[in-house]
């Protein structure tokens, strides 16, 4: 049971079942990154998947755009307590990207341009739960938000949705990525409030 602050009334907007515990709704789209945003031109961009056997699958921007594109409407939840409900994105499902990939790994590390990494269990990336997204609200994804493309894993806290995504490496073990090595939770499920390690 919490400590009651009798003079505190708050501006309640809870009771919204779409909000995980401890989250509040925001209309804006705050930016959270560890440092400045890298520049990546689509001409230089590629997306890869590397298996534990060293097999590498890679797509140039054009090859990636030629894959089936889907529209995604989803809520996103940031560990700093804001949630944005009903956001719309367009991108490629990871199910599509993993179609020809053979692996026995259970875990992955997402690698971004600029050196950012985050770990996500493979089962959190499959079955319609994750995308590589390049459009937000009908516009190309801004660089500040991860453009040209970012990972989108909206059922986990948003730091797992790596901006400026470059590729996914399959790993046998669950290896902590950047924020996971800096005090944040290894998994990051907002409904269980897996915020900090």
């Amino acid at each position: 049971m919490g400590i009651i602050s009798s003079g505190f009334h708050g501006k309640r907007q809870t009771g919204n079942p779409a909000l995980p515990p401890g989250q509040y709704e925001t209309a804006s789209f705050p930016v959270l990154t560890a440092g400045p945003a890298p520049y990546v031109a689509t001409a230089d961009w590629e997306f890869f998947i590397r298996t534990e056997a060293g097999e590498r699958h890679a797509w140039s921007w054009d090859a990636f755009m030629a894959l089936p594109q889907v529209d995604i409407r989803t809520d996103i939840h940031c560990v700093t307590s804001w949630s944005k409900l009903g956001t719309s994105w367009r991108g490629v499902s990871l199910d599509t990207l993993f179609e020809d990939v053979e692996t026995t790994s259970d875990y992955t590390t997402a690698h971004s341009y600029g050196g950012y990494t985050t770990n996500v269990p493979l089962q959190d990336l499959r079955d319609g739960q994750a995308w590589v997204a390049w459009e937000f609200d009908g516009e190309p994804l801004e660089r500040a938000h991860g453009g040209p493309a970012r990972l989108l894993v909206p059922h986990l806290y948003f730091w797992k949705s790596a901006k400026w995504i470059n590729g996914i490496e399959l790993t046998q073990d669950d290896l902590p990525g950047f924020w996971e090595s800096n005090g944040y939770h290894i998994h990051g499920d907002p409904w269980r409030e897996e915020r900090y390690s």
Binding site: G10, P36, S197
Partner: protein, 245 residues
Amino acid sequence: MSTLWRVADVVSGVPETETSRTIGLRVDGLMGNLAGQHIDIRLTADDGYTAVRSYSVATASMDEIIEITVDELANGEVSPYLVRDLAVGDQLEIRGPVGGWFVWRPTDTNPVQLIAGGSGIVPLMSMIRAHEASENPSPFRLLYSLKSPEAGFYREELLTLGQQSPKLTVDYVYTRSVPQGWPTAPKRLTAETLLANILPPDATPDTFICGQTIFVETVAEWLVESGYPAASIKTERFGGTGGTR
């Protein structure tokens, strides 16, 4: 563990400016914080409704008492309560201190450039305090961007340190009003002013930028464009507008 909510006693509350207050919190068994870390504060209304916000720790000690400085955001949910209503003797809940990235450690050896916009001074003050309390000899330089002289946090302490510390340099830029006798008129921070008041890239500083999101984004971009390696720049965004457009 840092994930657990713990009860904190409010042991002090001292106005910092007209809209802000420094609050001392004592937590049983707490062993201080790394310079630059933040805590989460949870407030619970009498019907059980809760609100959580993050606040940087301003102090750098190994103590059961830490201090935060909260700036009131007009119409905000949590900050007006913390600045105006919370009283010494009250209790609230905190989680943390957390964060292992936007931190400075006394074992770090590079020169350090700190860049604060408004209340973004808070975690940087923690770093300055940790640096002053340590034997660490590397030079620290602070650039503090402020609306007006009256909006500055920790004014006395920064003035004294700026004059007396052999390893800290403090520079100010004012965006709306300047102190009497100030050589330049108030104006928006520009890349030129910024670059004239910080350590140059060839000094290879570690740079920490903190403030409202738009301030942090703008300054970080200028630095990267001016040849500071992105990997040497760490940022902490307090929120507010920016990044959306």
